[in-house]
């Protein structure tokens, strides 16, 4: 039988927050967020098969204030998870483990995700303005 009281290795709360650990946790968090996003994607496509009223309701839900905030969150999550995923593949290839490279690529990931999110918002709000 396993001894339930055996000592555990030091856990998250005893470490000083660092960009490396923060981005690692953010990768998983955005992944879970995007799993929920996949459900909204399904709802959006399915709503369209139920006719104009159901689709208009879906569009109105996404267009509401909370809907917009949620979509911004999904947008940032897509671009962060994408950029950090590429960072993971660089590590798979053995590149970028040095601390200075980890920090540089980490910040690049954040900047990329923020910039692409802003760019998407520009496209979305100009589409909304033109419609």
């Amino acid at each position: 039988m396993a001894n339930q009281n055996r000592p555990l290795s030091p856990h998250l709360q005893v470490y000083r927050p660092q960009i490396t650990s923060f981005l690692s946790i953010l990768h998983r968090a955005t992944g879970v967020v995007l799993a929920i996003g996949a459900l909204f994607f399904t709802y959006w496509l399915l709503a369209a098969t139920y006719g104009p009223a159901k689709f208009a309701a879906a569009q109105a839900l996404f267009g509401s204030l909370i809907g917009q905030l949620v979509l911004w969150g999904f947008t940032f999550s897509v671009f962060y998870h994408l950029a950090n995923g590429i960072r993971h593949m660089a590590w798979d290839a053995g590149w970028g483990f040095e601390l200075d490279r980890l920090r540089i690529t980490g910040w690049l990931t954040i900047v990329f995700a923020a910039a692409m999110t802003v760019l998407t918002l520009v496209v979305a709000y100009s589409a909304a303005g033109g419609a």
């Binding site: 992944g31 799993a35 098969t49 994408l82």
Partner: protein, 126 residues
């Protein structure tokens, strides 16, 4: 000291008997999702405020149905692989683990099939 048999080493399947399959499929679907997700985000941003007629026209245009179906397959496959790791890390009860893995898998199949059906219906249906 080498603790594994030569046969086990040459098979290269590891203790879970699946080798690098999970890792490889996660990378493969991830690479596919790079262009697919960027394409989708900007396409969806352009569909803000669209009505059903405009939406149907977009879904059925040129390569869009194929892109949407590829996105659906890669996205749900990648989601299942990722959620599996999260569940295995945090759900310690064997029963809860098996149940949640099953639910996530079947839900992904259900949603994936629904998305593909919707794309086909919006493309070909009246």
């Amino acid at each position: 000291m080498q603790m594994r048999s030569y046969l086990g080493r040459s098979r290269g399947l590891g203790s879970a008997n699946e080798g690098v399959h999970h890792w490889w499929m996660q990378r493969l679907t991830g690479v596919a999702l790079v262009p697919l997700s960027v394409w989708f985000v900007f396409a969806a941003a352009g569909l803000v405020g669209a009505d059903l007629t405009e939406f149907k026209a977009w879904v059925g245009r040129h390569g869009n149905p194929v892109m949407l179906i590829l996105l659906t397959v890669a996205m749900f496959h990648h989601t299942v692989l990722g959620m599996q790791v999260v569940i295995e890390d945090y759900v310690h009860s064997e029963t809860a683990k098996v149940v949640s893995l099953t639910v996530v898998n079947l839900l992904a199949w259900l949603c994936g099939a629904s998305c593909i059906f919707a794309v086909l219906r919006l493309t070909f249906g009246g």
